[in-house]
Amino acid sequence: MLRIMLIGWVLALALSACTSRQEAEQAAKNSPTLSEAAAPQPEQHGVEKKTVTLANPLNGEWIAAGKAIYDLKCLACHKLTNEKVVGPGWAGVTKRREPVWIMNMITNVDMMLETDPEAQKMLEECLVRMPNQNISDEEARHILEFMRQNDGEK
């Protein structure tokens, strides 16, 4: 008898859980309490880069601008050698990675950590998510130029 009651109770609970989830979903769909302008705010990231054009010789102004951003926003975690501190060292990064991969990693890090197996592998190694450092597409390109110089390109 006790067991039957218990089963009944569990069943009732399961049913009610199911109902309440449906109700919640319904409420979420029709919720009159949500105003449209207050819809969830996505974080500010750049649009996915599909192509990056490289040219030689390197652009000296871009290198200087990229170095300044590096000193302010990147150096805390990335060294210019191949030594890993928080994130991997930058030596050789432009040989290992495609330019678009680097650019997206800087400006589109959430997308990369969700979709890119290489980026996910890096997170497993470092265990600190590469932060969004509020860097524009243009600034990211300058950083890339600085990385190329760091890897010995002219």
């Binding site: 309490t33 969830p40 302010l72 150096l75 805390a76 265990l127 600190v128 932060p131 450092q133 509020n134």
Partner: protein, 666 residues
Amino acid sequence: MKRTWLSILGTPAAWTVLALAITACTPRNPTQAIIGNAAEEVYVPPGQYDEFYSIVSGGFNGQVSVYGLPSGRLLRIVPVFSQFPENGWGYSEETKPMLNTSHGFVPWDDSHHIALSTTNGEHDGRWAFVNGNNTPRIARINLQTFRTEEIIEIPNSSGNHSSPFLTENSEYAVAGTRFSYPLDGAGTTPDVPIETYKQNFKGTVSFVGINPQDGELNIGFQILLPGVNFDLARGGRGPSHDWFFFSCYNTEQANTLLEVNASQKDKDFIMAVNWKRCEEYVKAGKGRKDKVRYAHNVYSDETHSATSNIETEVTVLDPTELKDIVYFIPCPKSPHGCDVDPSGQYIVGSGKLAAVIPVFSFDKMLKAIAEGNVESTYEGIPVLNYDAVLHGEVEKPGLGPLHTEFDGKGFAYTSFFVSSEIVKWNVEKLEVVDRVPTYYSIGHLSVPGGPTRKPHGKYVIAYNKITKDRYLPTGPELTQSAQLYDISGDKMRLLLDFPTVGEPHYAEALPADLIAPNSVKIFPIEENKHPYVTRGEKEARVERKGNEVHVYMTSIRSHFTPDNIEGVKLGDEVYFHVTNLEQDWDVPHGFAVKGSNNAEILIMPGETCTLKWVPDRIGVTPIYCTDFCSALHQEMQGYVRVSPAGANVPLRWTTGGTPESGLSNR
């Protein structure tokens, strides 16, 4: 038998009954109050947002809190007048000046009323203002950052209760003194016997100008007034745009046992001030310049620092000389709330001891002034004829009316403390149409947009003064109880109880889309103009200036640079200037030192904050991050070595190795 009684007393039910019996004016059975599917109406699904922000005063906690409606979820506590060890407000070197006053550092207050900025009488989502009721102050909170940006002290005032209500376009915030007191016009209070109240005590109301561009405050002018208590106030709108209305009690001018002695007269006053005319007089040089001292404190998001200046002059207008700026309207009896309807035509006075709610007509007031329809003068100020200004009285509304809000559909909602209810009535017809009990003894009430030209209606929130049995008991001290009612239909319906922090007095609510899209996420590090900013780890360093040691420190997930510091000596004052290099939303870092007599600090992305630490003993002291920032947050730590005074240990700072490794002293 005895035991049986004891065991009955021991049951929760018995205590509930007892508590209800003790509550003076217990309304109808609270368990029958829920009608319809209330849960669904206040449910905000996970990950979704509330429709309204409610900005709520914190009363004796001296702060402002922010709730989402209809869920009643607490979103944030904004520190204002009181130190807040949670994030270092009033403890960090940058924020200490915000709490400076002419009395010196006053790290607490009693914040009562919220006023949200309006443009053309409608909420614009720019600033929230709140009063300091104790040490007379007005604070301005930026609704993009939810931080207190400015605090101005009010001179010639003694308890700033009648504040910080705004004019229709946020031209001015007002500040009426609750306590009248002896004033001599020289910024000092003369030493006179207390019982000379009638001869020597004066009141003032101040109009504090608000710069329309950046919100900066300045005291435009003050009006010197008879010694009474100024209680609440509302600005006119539409036709009454140029006017401001204040409730006054203690027109008996009692200085002791006010409970009895200030309740003698059948009518006190609503005071009408023509602030536009005042402005003209100030411009024409009709004001007297009083020597005073008051603090004006401003916080900058560029330097991430506050400055405090003591100002020394204020312009005072005397209505016994300038005859057309102030009029008294008789109002029964000890009025508290003084509220203006959305059209700007009706002024509602709520006499705490009155049996009716008087509603005054702005047009009739102008007519009475024009016709000189005056029944007497009070210390040289004309008192208009009650019947000439009255639109009408709401008969038998309830007991102890306090405050009134409006729904924009022609209805008013008045809170009744003694009979513990909200009463809905028709403003034109003066007829009560509905009433609901509150649990228990409501003080202020709030309709989203209720004090504006365009109320958003939908809900009324009761801020109750007595909690008793509404929640699980927590000893003698209980949370404060707020209640959300639906007002979209003919009948008000109770939907939700929610607990609140501090003791809310007034609150205002506004649609989330006026604030949410403008919310600041980070402070761009490139724009950080803090004098002790560290722009990247390359600039991290330690500098000694006499016995001051300045640590230029950076934080990023998950380390400080430098994190090993040596060469500090007993007798030094150490200033940790921590710059958070993060540039992502919601990645603050904390900073704390063992045994600090100060507080910890929280540093938002791109910001610099300074913690002062005076070591009290020799040895190695840990420092660490207090805000869980990453999987390696527990690794975000370091050490400071403190040597004896006069020791030979050189100043040295490192992160990740020895000075020679290239990662330190760089």
